[in-house]
Homo-oligomer: 180 residues x 2
DNA sequence: ACCTGAACACCGTTCAAGT
DNA sequence: ACCTGAACACCGTTCAAGT
């Protein structure tokens, strides 16, 4: 007849595992953090993780989803500012997860789920920018400009550059879209 | 007194190893090709590779250098054409090595030698483009435009896109640099 | 349902030993 | 100088067994 026997419901344990994985993935990178280290940080045995997650990729995707949700909310806040500022905010935010981003790109080829997540992420971000570009542009031009912006953001995030270079590149990029 | 005892001088054996590695790295990717497979393709035992190369990274760098030298020559041929065409050529050529490029980006963080190779590669390609941009632009603007171009090329190379999208993006990118 | 100890398969690399 | 067989350390994952 008891309903809440366990001190830790399944969801909570899963959250602990994700918190440990997230911290280590962001700090040390996905490839450089063995399952054993995540397990130890969460106080379990490595194989226990497999009761909650299918494999290491599933853990990665769960972490990515969490990070996306958390930061999407505040991005929508920034979405009313000038485009150059939006770009700069996006780059600075993503820079905090640059190792994770490199990992996603590396694993797009090896893992279908990672590939799907990556495609979806691009779609959302690119659409958010597309709707802000001048209406006078052709659809093809808008699509091209959005790709240029997306790839530039990725480059700024994953390459080592000083803040000035990042800022100037965002401004130069946005200067093209001055409304007619 | 004999001078050329061996049927296969060291350089030749090394070249064989590099040819095997190159083929497999390009086809299957660096992470997905074990040293054992390279060894088998070259007709030796895995540990033999370590007599010729310090480690797997050294093999990778040797292959990268080879590819760079081979393609640099024909790039200089293309360098007299319009910028949009140069970009398109660069993207299409690099697309043949997209897995290798993803690997380089992933390993920049883990391997100092790979990081240095990557930086040097960027420097050379970016300078080649910088000198072709309109003289009227400020140094800062040129630097920003070159970064935008480099990152867009990288994005076009590493993401899945149809040929039309690639072509349109290169044109749109170059349209900005129309000489005043 | 939840977790563990032990094992498996795979991989890069090393090393003592051979020619 | 050049190459090998055997071993080492490490890793993701599985599985039979425990509670």
């Amino acid at each position: 007849m008891p309903v809440n026997k366990r001190a830790e419901p399944e969801a909570e344990k899963k959250a602990q595992l994700m918190a440990a994985a997230r911290q280590l993935f962001v700090q040390d990178g996905y490839e450089s953090t063995p399952m054993g280290r995540i397990a130890k940080a969460a106080g379990v045995t490595p194989n226990t993780i497999y009761w909650y997650f299918e494999d290491k990729d599933a853990l990665l995707l769960a972490v990515l989803d969490e990070l996306f949700q958390e930061n999407m909310a505040t991005f929508l806040t920034v979405a009313r500012k000038p485009l150059a500022e939006q770009l700069l905010w996006l780059v600075q935010t993503l820079r905090g997860f640059s190792r994770l981003i490199s990992t996603v790109h590396a694993r797009v080829r090896e893992s279908k789920p990672v590939d799907q997540w990556h495609s979806q992420f691009h779609s959302i971000v690119e659409q958010l920018f597309a709707m802000q570009l001048p209406q006078e542009m052709t659809q093809a031009a808008i699509a091209a400009e959005v790709r240029i912006a997306a790839f530039t953001v990725e480059g700024l995030v994953t390459h080592v550059l000083d803040d000035d270079a990042v800022r100037l590149t965002c401004q130069q990029l946005a200067s093209r879209w001055a409304r007619a």
